[in-house]
């Protein structure tokens, strides 16, 4: 496009603006409402070479895609800054707001008027009010917008100023450099500028590995005077929560800016604006801030509560059931809200107490983060579904929650009191179906509420028995085998009696001898002396015959005595026996009854002899 053509168009446009559009603009407020254009110049007073910012704001109820057109400004060097847009959707209609920023560098002193800035939209032309500006002289002709500051000229230069000079720099700052794990660090990034870049700067957030980062919108924009210069400052704040102890580094923030190289181009600024397609010949610059080291301390182990789950900040606790009364089997929600300051998303689940009588289902959590006054606050909500299983008043025991308060440097505990739920019986189906038809449908038992079984009603109210005495126990175990042994022995004895006649005679010898002795005593008591001695002799002789295994009749007294001696009987015994036998024979065969004085003595002698003989013969027999 040639310069002549451009001038023609400009003339044409300004002609329309002057003759046609303005009356329409003022006469028809409806149009004014549809698209509005305004311009603002800051500051309104400046020195030669000091850049001014011109912001043109276009707003309207439609999507506007046109560019504003600046009037001829020979007293300024004009460069185009950024364009920012904001769309909102209200009541089903789009409203948009566009702002274009221009940097005007005065070339000469004096009072100037910036004429109407115009906009063409939908066949209509809109324009702004003219703006007045006064420039004080300094004799400096068209200084460059970017100048490397001399150190002496910027003694109060902010720390970590980036390298594009004092016209544009960035800083990153933190509110503290030593924190506990999960205690927030406030990182603020500031972008200072006195000039407008060609396009929207590209912000690259610092590297924050090891931190949980939470942006704190909105992005703030304000102007501030620094070293006598007015800066436009854009501030972005971020809360950083360190996740582990140690030394963590916040990397440098970066900002890519696209600046016009005024020195090289110069020329007519309008030319530049109209031929913005060729603007790519500007200069790229990257602003960097310094990295920051943060010392992260681990939480103290002293006094760490058992239920501590790593939550740091200042927290409160509330809990509620979504109803006070429920039927058995109905779902009830236990909602535990942990709210306060800190990293909401890292708030751990509270330990649920044991919920007796409830069936406990899974817990779901949600969180709401509020960022207000540069603080991360919010609430973490844990919802647990419970299903009462028994009737009565069920209790959710007190719930506690522990967290670490970095301000007091102590673990703190919050608690909510116990919650009660009245549980009513569920709908109980009749055990016996009222409708006979339903009895045949085969519908089984419907469980309404499960509970433990009832108490045992007949308690055995007795002390457990005392231990059995030891003798009873021992006899309980010894008697049965003893009985078995007894049976065995008795049977063996019976068998021998049958099989061995001599054994049987010897076993019976004692018995029959004593039987005879008893008969003899009866005879003595009756006064029958002869019979007495006869029975006495019979008892002794019979016993000896049985024991020695000989015939009662076919053995002589002498033979008996010799056999006894063989068996080991001493002379005393045999002599006594012999004497008694003689006495018996004498009394038996005497013509008169024997005198009763001797009988008792002889009986005793016989008994003693029998005992002695028994001892000798049975011992010998066994041996």
């Amino acid at each position: 496009m040639s310069q002549a053509a451009n001038k023609k168009i400009r003339a044409w446009l300004s002609g329309i603006a002057a003759c046609a559009v303005l009356p329409v603009f003022f006469a028809n407020p409806a149009w004014a409402q549809e698209v509005q254009i305004s311009a603002r110049l800051t500051p309104q007073q400046a020195a030669v070479g000091q850049p001014l910012q011109l912001v043109v704001i276009i707003s309207g109820k439609a999507s506007i895609n046109a560019q504003p057109q600046l009037p001829d400004l020979p007293a300024f060097q004009v460069s185009r800054g950024g364009r920012s847009s904001n769309f909102s959707f209200v009541n089903g209609k789009i409203s948009s707001s566009l702002s274009y920023t221009y940097v005007l560098v005065p070339r000469q002193a004096g009072k100037f008027t910036i004429g109407s800035i115009t906009l063409e939209h939908a066949g209509k032309i809109y324009s702004t009010q003219p703006l007045a500006v006064s420039i004080s002289g300094s004799g400096q002709a068209a200084p460059p917008a970017l100048q490397q500051p001399a150190p002496s000229q910027a003694p109060q230069s902010p720390p970590r100023a980036a390298q594009t000079g004092d016209a544009m720099f960035i800083t990153t700052e933190v509110d503290r450099r030593e924190v506990y794990v999960n205690e927030p660090v406030m990182l603020s990034f500031k972008y200072y500028t006195r000039i407008a870049p060609l396009s929207q700067p590209q912000y690259q957030a610092p590297e924050t590995s090891g931190f949980w980062s939470e942006d704190l919108p909105p992005q703030r924009e304000y102007t501030s005077v620094l070293n006598g210069q007015t800066y436009r400052i854009t501030e972005i704040k971020t809360a950083l929560f360190p996740t582990a102890a140690g030394t963590l580094t916040i990397g440098p923030a970066r900002l890519q800016v696209h600046l016009q190289d005024f020195q090289r181009r110069g020329g007519d600024p309008f030319n530049d604006i109209f031929s913005r397609n060729f603007f790519s010949r500007g200069r790229q610059a990257e602003l960097r801030s310094q990295p920051i080291k943060i010392q992260v301390k681990s939480l103290p182990s002293q006094g760490k509560p058992g239920d501590f789950s790593g939550t740091v900040g200042k927290w409160s606790l509330s809990a509620k059931l979504d109803r006070r009364e429920a039927k058995v089997g109905e779902a009830v929600t236990l909602e535990i809200r942990i709210f306060g300051e800190g990293n909401v998303k890292s708030v751990g689940k509270p330990d649920l107490p044991v919920l007796t009588g409830f069936k406990v289902y899974e817990t779901v959590s949600s969180s709401e983060v509020q960022k207000k006054n540069d603080q991360v606050r919010g609430v973490k909500i844990y919802r647990t579904l419970l299903r009462p299983e028994v009737t009565g008043t069920l209790t959710v025991p007190p719930i506690t929650y522990s967290y670490f308060n970095p301000d007091t440097r102590k673990y703190e505990k919050v608690q909510v009191p116990a919650l009660n739920l009245k549980v009513l019986p569920g709908e109980i189906r009749a055990a016996v179906p009222l409708d006979p038809a339903s009895a045949t449908t085969g519908e089984g038992v419907k469980v309404v509420a499960r509970d433990i079984r009832y108490l045992k009603t007949k308690l055995p109210l007795q002390r457990p028995a005392r231990p059995l005495p030891a003798w009873l126990l021992i006899s309980g175990f010894l008697l049965p085998p003893l009985a078995v042994l007894g049976i065995w022995g008795w049977q063996r004895h019976q068998d021998r009696l049958l099989a061995d006649p001599r054994y049987a005679r010897r076993r019976r010898a004692d018995q029959s001898a004593w039987r005879a002795l008893r008969q003899a005593r009866r005879a003595r008591l009756r006064g029958e002396g002869k019979k007495f001695y006869s029975l006495l002799a019979q008892a002794l002789a019979g016993y000896l015959a049985d024991q020695l295994g000989v015939s009662r009749s076919g053995i002589t007294q002498r033979e008996i005595l010799s056999r006894l001696r063989e068996k080991g009987a001493d002379e005393g015994l045999t002599g006594n026996l012999n004497a008694l036998f003689d006495e018996c024979d004498f009394a038996r065969f005497a013509p008169n009854e024997p005198p009763g004085t001797e009988t008792e003595k002889h009986e005793q002698q016989a008994e003693a002899l029998l005992t002695q003989l028994n001892r000798i013969l049975t011992r010998r027999g066994k041996a």
């Binding site: 079984r453 109210l461 126990l473 175990f477």
Partner: protein, 255 residues
């Protein structure tokens, strides 16, 4: 010999009730009060009455069961399970005790039991009867065996039926005596307990200086592996964890 000894000692404990009763009337009153309090949902009061009965020495499976019910309703799951376990040990065949014990157990979160069906069946079978009952059964078999042996002697070893009966009773006796002694020995060796506080902190050694290794929920049944002063070593079977907890945090089995 040890088998015989344990069976003997169990029989000692088995003696029928010739123990003198001091105040049965007062005990009946306590039991009635406890039941009334339980019915009125005043579990603290009910518990106090039942505990008095227990302190008076009225140990029984039914009393332990009622104590378990009361503690359960009192929201103390660990103690409830501990009482139910004692009741089940004394009376393994009681359906109510088994039901309530399982009911309480189901409220405790624990990993699924990986033991095989056969092992589980074996364990259940082993616990099917109390050691005392088994000991009595073994003794009855012993006496029967003696009677049959006597009969066999009298019949001079004749009679096929009698011989088979003797063999059968003999085998039964050996089986029952072994089972009884194993059961009684198992009961006497207290190697299980129930956690009675929520999230008991199991440390890596028998002192609070050691770090907490894991936390055990209330009502969890754990194996007792040893003791050092007031610290008890516990083992969690399916997980394979081992740690030390304070003795007040666990109720071991046994009266």
């Amino acid at each position: 010999m040890r088998t015989l000894l344990s069976v003997l000692t169990t029989l000692c404990l088995l003696a029928p009730a010739w123990a003198g009763e001091a105040k049965p009337g007062a005990w009946e009153e306590k039991a009635a009060l406890a039941r009334a309090a339980y019915d009125a949902s005043d579990y603290t009061q009910a518990l106090a009455h039942y505990e008095e009965l227990l302190a008076a020495g009225l140990t029984s499976a039914d009393l332990y069961y009622n104590l378990g019910n009361t503690e359960f309703k009192n929201s103390r799951l660990g103690r409830a399970i501990a009482y139910y376990r004692r009741a089940a040990q004394m009376s393994p065949g009681d359906e109510d005790i088994r039901y309530n014990l399982n009911f309480a157990r189901n409220l405790v979160k624990r990993p699924p039991d990986k033991t095989g069906a056969l092992t589980r069946l074996g364990k259940t079978g082993f616990r099917w009867s109390a050691g005392q009952t088994l000991a009595v059964a073994a003794w009855v078999c012993y006496v029967l065996l003696a009677i049959v042996a006597g009969g066999l002697i009298l019949r001079r070893g004749q009679g096929l039926l009698l011989r088979w009966t003797a063999a059968l009773i003999g085998i039964t006796f050996i089986f029952l005596a072994t089972w009884a002694s194993l059961r009684i020995t198992a009961d006497r060796t207290v190697n299980w307990g129930v956690i009675v506080v929520n999230q008991a902190e199991a440390r890596n050694g028998p002192s609070s200086d050691f770090e907490v290794g894991f936390k055990v929920p209330v009502g969890r049944e754990v194996r007792i592996l040893g003791q050092e002063g007031s610290w008890i070593a516990i083992g969690l079977t399916p997980e394979g964890y081992k740690g030390w907890i304070q003795d007040k945090e666990i109720w071991p089995d046994g009266p």
